[in-house]
């Protein structure tokens, strides 16, 4: 343990690297904060023959809370792959058979051992080591969280310096990490402290089957030693490469300030290509002006810096290099314009090595994409995954929510953001199906969709299983986890955008992002920003759609238009006496007036009474100042608009007009994207034929062909 003076000395030792991003950039929005909670210096050696890592790690942790801290918890994530008793594999075995993770083959397990851990003054913490399991249900065999105890607590404002040594066996092709032949993707690989939360202690969850990660912002210096023929990519900037400790080996040094994780990859086959995102070329003056106007900020506040883009790509994908860079540039541009400038000097995009199980994953300043051998132009692959994983640099990387506990705050936000970027940069995406590994879209014109459409389609079906706001490992299964935290959360955000209006939502997202950069927000923080920026209390929205499992479905139950009768049956007081209006008298009156149904009603000077019944089919309700909007279109082309607060299960609304109703439609602007049944949002008095006939013919010919195919086996 060291106090502040010790910290300064240590920073001198560890802090040789310049905090270049902070120093070089004039724009405050782009600056890195000065004081991270953690500083790391790690030396790691890859043994290509044995598939092992040997590492040393110096850590300086500063207690930024107001309470003394007497222990420290570390993530040892690779012990998730140590045996079938880990929480990870126990949960995987209980998961849906559709998505169960396979256990590694014999000899392919991975693990990490902390072989030595001591304070900087040499005091050994080894005897205090214990594996802890705090998450419910408890899996006794799990060894992914290690705790050590200090003899003296770390006082508020003080720091502690530790030195660890560790040995790891690299798992073969499991979740997010692994090797195949001599290709490596190394993520979640070093002993990493959890996040100390005042009043709650260490937030350090086990490695779960359905969860990602959470850790504190740190400054990293990492020295990676590999065989000299390997191409290496890593988080941060490479600041040097020199001879390693043995002949034929090279040590690469990477540095990066203010990131909360560090991943690297090594493969002798990588092609390394570098280009620069030149903001002056990618963003026009008009785009800056429009963005500034949208966000209500000065133009200078939305200007973007240049970013060095590094691509590591497999040789067989070399033809896709331009596509990779174009997608990354679009992502840097739109995430930067909308949410805030990218604050780091570099971003490394990795086309994941074949069979390393590492595709489509985010790490600070580095992400893995993933592509196919054949990539049709109309299909946004690899663009979709590139934009999404880069976007995680914003939602997870910079705004660093707890992915164990509130995964929707990054996955949902980023799915929502990805859809917006793809729609802006590329437009519609063709659906892709493969036959014999060949995408049909490379031959035929496939249907095209927007992300928000497909997200909604999957989001509505998952509502009954879990609330979006569920701890990641407590979802019903991986399908529920995935569809809730990605698709349903994104659909909720798209709905919120439509409720608030695009400009307000843009300001909400910008304010939330910039306000919570380099911090660990919770859902309540986002809700607070929404309410403050929009000036409306939208708390109900999150309660209704993200905290519950209630289906949202409003619909038009019926539409009936009837000519208003000139008289009604019964006995009436007329001039002091009683007069009965009989059916015959009424018919006579109607005949005289030449009354007929339809447009003639108007000519006859008589009104039609239209009754529209609206129903709330689902349990979820609109709240706050939101209303269900109803537009009734009449046969003469006129329209009438009404609003319903939607609290009750139904409402009957009547309209007296000189014409019959042709259409009643709720939510005509499509605000309630979260509505699970769009079909009942409108009611055409005259039934639809053409669309149904078209569908029937399509369905029919598919069935005819399937039957005929089956008959060929007769």
């Amino acid at each position: 343990m060291r106090k502040r003076l010790g910290m300064l000395v240590l920073c001198g030792a560890l802090g040789l690297w310049p905090r270049t991003a902070a120093a070089a950039r004039p724009a405050p929005a782009n600056a890195l904060p000065d004081e991270p909670v953690l500083r790391y210096e790690i030396w790691v050696d890859l043994n290509d023959e044995a598939k092992t890592l040997h590492g040393k790690e110096d850590i300086v942790w500063t207690n930024r809370t107001r309470e003394p801290v007497s222990d420290m918890c570390f993530h040892l994530y690779w012990n998730a792959f140590k045996n079938a008793d880990s929480t990870y594999f126990r949960e995987a075995a209980e998961d849906s058979p559709l998505v169960q993770a396979d256990e590694p083959a014999d000899g392919d397990w991975g693990w990490i051992d902390v072989t030595d851990i001591r304070l900087a003054d040499g005091r050994d913490l080894g005897p205090t080591r214990e594996f802890v399991r705090r998450d419910q249900p408890v899996h006794e065999g799990d060894q992914t969280v290690l705790r050590v105890r200090f003899a003296e607590p770390v006082k508020p404002g003080d720091n502690v310096r530790l030195r660890l040594e560790f040995r790891s066996k690299i798992p073969r092709t499991v979740t997010r990490s692994g090797y195949y032949r001599n290709s490596y993707f190394i993520g979640q690989w070093f002993p990493k402290p959890g996040v100390y939360e005042e009043g709650r202690g260490w937030n350090c969850h086990e490695y779960h089957n359905n969860s990602e990660f959470f850790s504190d912002f740190a400054d990293f210096v990492v020295h990676i030693t590999v065989p000299e023929n390997f191409v290496v990519g890593a988080s941060g900037q490479e600041t040097g490469a020199g001879p390693g400790p043995a002949p034929g080996r090279v040590t690469h040094t990477f540095r990066q300030a203010m990131i909360h994780d560090f991943a690297w990859t090594a493969d002798p086959r990588y092609l390394k290509v570098e280009r620069t995102f030149v903001a002056a070329r990618e963003v026009s003056a008009r785009e800056y002006e429009d963005t500034a106007a949208l966000l209500g900020q000065p133009v200078d506040a939305v200007r973007l810096p240049d970013v060095r883009m590094i691509l590591l790509i497999a040789p067989e994908h070399r033809r896709q290099i331009d596509r990779h860079f174009k997608a990354l540039a679009a992502a840097i541009k739109y995430y930067g314009l909308w949410y805030g400038p990218y604050p780091y000097e570099t971003v490394t995009m990795v086309d994941p090595p074949f069979r390393t199980g590492s595709g489509g994953m985010e790490y600070p300043t580095l992400f893995t994409a993933g592509t196919d051998l054949i990539t049709p132009r109309d299909v946004l692959s690899p663009e979709g995954v590139i934009v999404h994983e880069f976007g995680h640099g914003y939602w997870y990387g910079l705004v660093a929510n707890n992915e164990f506990e509130e995964a929707w705050l990054d996955e949902g936000f980023n799915t929502y953001s990805t859809g917006r970027v793809l729609a802006r940069a590329y437009g519609w995406d063709a659906l892709s199906y493969d036959i014999l590994g060949i995408p049909l879209a490379s031959v035929f014109s496939m249907p095209k969709v927007l992300d928000e459409e497909t997200e909604r389609a999957t989001a509505v079906s998952i509502v009954k299983y879990d609330p979006v706001r569920t701890f990641s490992w407590r979802f019903y299964n991986s399908v529920s986890y995935g569809l809730n935290v990605y698709q349903r959360a994104a659909t909720c955000l798209n709905t919120l955008e439509r409720l608030l209006g695009e400009p307000t939502m843009a300001r909400v997202m910008r304010a939330y992002h910039m306000g919570w950069r380099f911090k660990h927000p919770r859902a309540a923080d986002f809700i607070r920003v929404v309410n403050e920026v929009s000036g409306r209390d939208m708390t109900w929205f999150f309660d209704e759609f993200l905290s519950g499992t209630m289906n949202f479905d409003y619909g038009v139950a019926s539409v009936v238009s009837e000519a208003t009768p000139r008289s009604v049956r019964g006995v009436f007081d007329v001039e002091g006496g009683k007069e009965e209006m009989t059916s015959a008298k009424i018919r006579e009156l109607e005949a005289k007036a030449g009354d007929k149904a339809g447009p003639k009603d108007a000519a006859a000077g008589k009104a039609c009474l239209t009754t529209v019944v609206l129903r709330r089919f689902g349990e979820a309700r609109v709240g706050g100042d939101a209303r269900v909007k109803l537009v009734v279109t009449f046969e003469d082309g006129s329209r009438e608009t009404a609003f319903w607060d939607g609290r009750d299960r139904w409402a009957r609304l009547t309209f007296s007009r000189p014409s019959r109703a042709a259409l009643a439609q709720i939510d005509p602007e499509g605000v309630w994207l979260i509505d699970s049944n769009l079909a009942n949002n409108s009611y055409l008095v005259r039934p639809v034929r053409r669309g149904l006939v078209s569908l029937l013919s399509r369905l029919l010919v598919v069935v005819q062909n399937v039957l005929q195919l089956a008959s060929s086996f007769s």
Binding site: N677, V688, R698, L700, L707, F713
Partner: protein, 291 residues
């Protein structure tokens, strides 16, 4: 030359049976309508008065998502229904094959012989023999689609397990599929000739018919197979043409809707016609070589 000649004769014979073609098309259409009917009723109830019903692109995520949500609990029942329908149709064709081959081989009476009474008489006459052949064919299909590709995978496992890139997997996977498809075409070939033998020789013992088919094909394997593959190639070319042209027909407007419907049914007719050509060309080839 004999192969091309038999294909030509087969085309001519099949083309002289428009009545049979129409009958088969009607059977296919009615059966498909019976399958589609309940789904159509469902969609009509949901979408018959909805604006969404005006734009029912088959992959419109709006209504497709809604449908999945509302009917997800019915999916097992729907799949069971679909499987039952396919199985039933398969059995129906085991029955119809007798009529198709019987009438195609009856050169004397031409189209007139495709009259329902004679057609159905042939269906009934050969049904049990064809049913036994069908059951036997399942063993061969299991070998073609399961055992052989499985064995191939096992043999190539060292290559796939140590593949350097995804291209290796791509080629091996396609190789396995191509081998399976070629084997399926061989099983088709063998059992087509077995059925022809049953009809031509009035053979009652299906194992004998199968043996005769093997013997016949064995003596002229490549020619017999190439005849079958050439017809398949023609069918694939026709299918490609249909799919290519179909994508240019929009779903809007009555004219295009009508044209698409006609075009789709024309393709079904083409499919059925090709099936008749298989039988008639192979029967012609069998006749020209077995005497």
């Amino acid at each position: 030359m004999a192969v091309w000649q038999s294909i030509g004769n087969g085309i001519r014979t099949a083309s002289r049976r428009p009545r049979m073609l129409v009958d088969l098309w009607l059977i296919n259409l009615v059966f498909a309508l019976l399958v589609v009917g309940p789904f159509f009723a469902l969609f009509k109830a949901d979408l018959g008065h909805s604006l969404l019903g005006r734009d029912l692109r088959p992959l419109n995520p709006a209504w497709l998502g809604d449908v999945i949500y509302r009917y997800q609990d019915m999916a097992p029942a729907a799949l069971a229904l679909a499987a039952a329908a396919v199985l039933l149709y398969l059995v129906l064709y085991v029955f119809l094959n007798g009529g198709i081959i019987g009438r195609l081989l009856d050169k004397e009476e031409g189209e007139g012989t495709a009259a329902p009474r004679l057609f159905l008489a042939d269906c009934g006459r050969y049904f049990w023999r064809f049913a036994r052949l069908f059951l036997l064919s399942l063993v061969f299909y299991a070998v073609a689609l399961g055992a052989v590709p499985g064995a191939l995978s096992a043999i190539l496992k060292p290559v796939t397990e140590n593949a350097r890139t995804a291209w290796t997997i791509f080629w091996i996977s396609n190789l396995r599929t191509v081998v399976a498809l070629l084997l399926v075409s061989l099983v088709h070939l063998i059992f087509d000739y077995a059925r022809i033998v049953v009809v031509v020789r009035e053979e009652r013992r299906v194992l004998h018919a199968l043996g005769a088919a093997f013997a016949f094909i064995g003596k002229r394997f490549f020619r017999a197979w190439s005849l079958s593959l050439l017809i398949t190639a023609g069918f694939l070319a026709g299918t490609g043409l249909y799919l290519f042209t179909r994508q240019f027909m929009p779903d809007t407007g009555l004219f295009w809707l009508g044209l698409a419907l006609v075009w789709e049914q024309a393709f079904i007719l083409f499919r059925l016609w090709t099936k008749m050509i298989y039988f008639s060309a192979q029967a012609d080839y069998y006749g020209s070589r077995s005497y």
